[in-house]
C-alpha cells in the first residue's frame, strides 16, 4: 500500500534535510515543472486529481485554485497561504507532516503557488508548534540557498518568497479569512464571504489558503499524475489521507490510509481496538466539530462524500473515541467549553450563545440541570445552525451537542433526574 505523504517520516528521527530529501527524489516535481510546464497545466492536473481540502472542508482544491484571477486581470502580488494552524481538538496530523517532512511542504508550496501564479507565500503555523516552526524555517532557508525559492527560480523567471508566521494562539485563526486578518496584524475575526479570498484576500489581493496536508499532496500528484492519485483511494474516494485515533484504544496514533477506508478497519486493525476493560461507545470522527457516530455505524468509508451523505462531516479525519467509562455529558461540556472560549466574539449567537450552552451542560453534569434545559439546548443549537452564525465555528460546535442530545438522551435525563453524575 502506498503512503506518499508519510513515506519519508520515520518515528523518533530528525526529518530529512534538503540533501536527504532530494536523495529520495524530493524536488524532482519542482525541477520538472517550474518553467517547463505551463501553470494552467499544473492546475489542470490538480483539478483532475479530485484532491479535496484536508483542513476539514473537503472542498476540491483545484476548483479553489481556478477561482484565482490571472495576473493580467489583477496585477500586483498574489498570495499563497498555508494554513498550519492545527488546533481542532483531537487533531494531530499536520504537526506530523510539519515536523516529519518539512521539505515535502515546501515543495508543495512551490508547485501550488506556481499553479496559481502566486509570488508570495506565508506559512501560518500555530504558535504552540515551536518545533515545527523551527524545522520549517530551516527548510525554507535551505530551499532559498539552493535557489528553489526567491527570484527567478531555476532560471524560469518565476519568483516566490516564503515567510513563516508563527501564530499567537486562538483556534479561530484556522478559519481561512480570520487567518488572513491575523496575518494583516488584526484581530482574528472572520471576514464576510463573499468576497472569497481568491477575489479579495490578504491585503485585498488574490489569495489561496490551503491546509498543510492538502499542499503536501501536490508534489506527489504532479510527479505521478492525477490518475495515480485517484487510484490510491477506496470505495469511490481518491488519494490517501492521514487519519488518526485518540482515546482509549490500544495504539492511538496517526495512520496514512487510502481515502475511503472503513472507520471500523482503522480503529480495529490500525489502532488495535479498545484497551482492555473499555468498550467503544461512540466516535467523533474528525475532531471536535464533527457529530457523534455510534459503534454500529462505523462501517462507513472515511471519505468526505460518505460522511456528508450521513449528515455528518469527516472533518480532519482524526477520530476521538468515547468509551463507556467516560461521561458523555462531561465530554460534550468539555467540547463546548473549548468553543465558547475560542469564539472570536464577533457574532452574537456564538459569542453569547456558546457560554450559555457551556454553563447549561456544566449544570447538568453536576446534577443541577432541569428537564427544560434539554429543550433550551435544542433551541440554542437551532440558533447556531449552519448559515445562521457569521462563520462555521458555532455550527461546528453544535454538531456534537445535537448528535449527543439525540444519542445520549437517557444519560442527560439520568443526570437531571438523579441530581448527580453517575461517573463521579
Amino acid at each position: 500500500m502506498e503512503r506518499p505523504l508519510t513515506k519519508n517520516i520515520i518515528a523518533n528521527q530528525e526529518p530529512y534535510d534538503l540533501a536527504a530529501y532530494q536523495a529520495v527524489g524530493g524536488y524532482q516535481a519542482v525541477l520538472q515543472t517550474i518553467g517547463r510546464i505551463d501553470p494552467t497545466k499544473v492546475l489542470e492536473i490538480v483539478v483532475d486529481s479530485g484532491l479535496g481540502g484536508c483542513g476539514g472542508g473537503g472542498f476540491p482544491t483545484g476548483r479553489k485554485w481556478q477561482a484565482m484571477p490571472s495576473r493580467e486581470e489583477r496585477p500586483g502580488t498574489h498570495y499563497f497561504i498555508v494554513n498550519a494552524d492545527e488546533m481542532e481538538p483531537g487533531t494531530f496530523k499536520d504537526r506530523l507532516l510539519l515536523e516529519g517532512d518539512p521539505h515535502q511542504l515546501i515543495e508543495g508550496i512551490i508547485l501550488s503557488a506556481y499553479a496559481v501564479q502566486a509570488d508570495h507565500s506565508y506559512i501560518f503555523i500555530r504558535g504552540e508548534y515551536h518545533r515545527a516552526i523551527t524545522l520549517i524555517e530551516h527548510a525554507v532557508s535551505e530551499a532559498e540557498a539552493a535557489g528553489l525559492l526567491g527570484l527567478n527560480i531555476l532560471g524560469s523567471g518565476y519568483n516566490l518568497v516564503i515567510h513563516v508566521h508563527g501564530g499567537a494562539g486562538r483556534y479561530i485563526c484556522g478559519e481561512e479569512t480570520a487567518l488572513l486578518n491575523s496575518l494583516e496584524g488584526r484581530r482574528a475575526v472572520p471576514r464576510s464571504k463573499p468576497p472569497l479570498p481568491m477575489t479579495s484576500g490578504l491585503f485585498g489581493a488574490p489569495t489561496v489558503v490551503n491546509n498543510v496536508e492538502t499542499v503536501c499532496n501536490i508534489p506527489h500528484i504532479i510527479a505521478n499524475g492525477a490518475d495515480w492519485y485517484r487510484n490510491l483511494g477506496q470505495n469511490g474516494a481518491v488519494g490517501t489521507k492521514i487519519f488518526g485515533v485518540s482515546g482509549r484504544v490500544k495504539k492511538p496514533g496517526a495512520y496514512e490510509l487510502p481515502m475511503g477506508t472503513p472507520m471500523q478497519d482503522m480503529i480495529e486493525n490500525y489502532a488495535g481496538g479498545m484497551q482492555h476493560g473499555y468498550k467503544l461507545r461512540a466516535v467523533l470522527p474528525g475532531g471536535a466539530s464533527t457529530g457523534f457516530m455510534l459503534a454500529e455505524d462505523l462501517d462507513i468509508p472515511m471519505s468526505f462524500a460518505a460522511f456528508a451523505a450521513k449528515g455528518n462531516r469527516l472533518g480532519t479525519g482524526t477520530a476521538i473515541i468515547l468509551d463507556d467509562q467516560t461521561c458523555p455529558i462531561g465530554l460534550i461540556a468539555n467540547l463546548q467549553h473549548f468553543f465558547a472560549q475560542e469564539s472570536c466574539g464577533w457574532c452574537a449567537p456564538c459569542r453569547d450563545g456558546l457560554p450559555w450552552v457551556e454553563r447549561t451542560l456544566k449544570a447538568i453534569e453536576i446534577g443541577e440541570g432541569k428537564m427544560d434545559d434539554l429543550d433550551l439546548l435544542t433551541d440554542i443549537s437551532d440558533t447556531m445552525a449552519p448559515g445562521r452564525t457569521f462563520c462555521a465555528l458555532a455550527p461546528g460546535a453544535m454538531a456534537s451537542l445535537m448528535t449527543g442530545l439525540s444519542y445520549f438522551r437517557d444519560e442527560f435525563e439520568r443526570h437531571i433526574r438523579d441530581g448527580k453524575c453517575p461517573w463521579t
Binding site: T91, F203, S246, A254
Partner: protein, 159 residues
C-alpha cells in the same frame, strides 16, 4: 536575564525591521513583533506595548486590541517557564484534571497562577496536537506527552 522593561535593544530593533520587511504594511508585523519582544521579557508590559506601537506607527489602543485578542501574548507577568496544560477533549478524557491537580499540588499554585519564586506559571491551553500521547503539556517550548503523576513528580518536583 531580563531586559529593562521599557527599553528596546538594538538587536531587537534590527529583528523588528527584518520582520516588518516581510509585509507590505508595518502593522501587519505586529503579532510577530509582540512575540519577539515577549521572548526577551516574558510578557508585554504597558511600556513595551507603547514602544512597539510607536515603532509600528500604531496607536496604543490599536495594538492592544490585537495583543489582548491572542492568548499567547501575555499582558501580565508570567513565570520563567509557562506550563501550558492541554484541557481539550482527549486530554480531558485521559485524565488531564488529575495531572493539573498534581502540578498544582507540587508547585502550590492554582490554575493561572505563578509560583512564588517566579519559576512557573500554569495555564490551560487548547489541544496541542499530541492527542495520541494524551494528556499532554508544553513546558516552555518542550512538548511532553503521556503525562502521569510520576512524570509530573520528576519534571516538576515538590519544593
Amino acid at each position: 536575564m531580563l531586559i529593562a522593561k521599557d527599553m528596546m535593544t538594538t538587536t531587537e530593533l534590527y529583528e523588528i525591521a527584518k520582520l516588518v520587511a516581510h509585509y507590505p504594511v508595518a502593522r501587519a508585523a505586529c503579532i510577530d513583533v509582540l512575540k519577539l519582544v515577549q521572548k526577551n521579557r516574558r510578557y508585554i508590559s504597558d511600556d513595551i506595548l507603547a514602544e512597539v506601537a510607536r515603532i509600528l506607527g500604531m496607536s496604543i489602543s490599536e495594538l492592544d486590541e490585537v495583543a489582548t485578542f491572542y492568548n499567547l501574548i501575555y499582558r501580565q507577568p508570567v513565570g520563567e517557564t509557562v506550563i501550558l496544560l492541554c484541557d481539550s477533549v482527549t486530554c480531558w478524557m485521559m485524565g488531564r484534571n488529575k495531572i493539573a491537580k498534581s502540578i498544582m499540588d507540587n508547585l502550590t499554585i492554582k490554575d493561572g497562577e505563578t509560583t512564588a519564586d517566579g519559576k512557573y506559571t500554569l495555564l490551560p491551553i487548547v489541544c496541542l496536537g499530541h492527542c495520541d500521547h494524551a494528556p499532554a503539556m508544553l513546558m516552555g517550548q518542550t512538548l511532553v506527552g503521556d503525562l502521569d503523576s510520576t512524570k509530573i513528580n520528576k519534571l516538576l518536583p515538590k519544593a
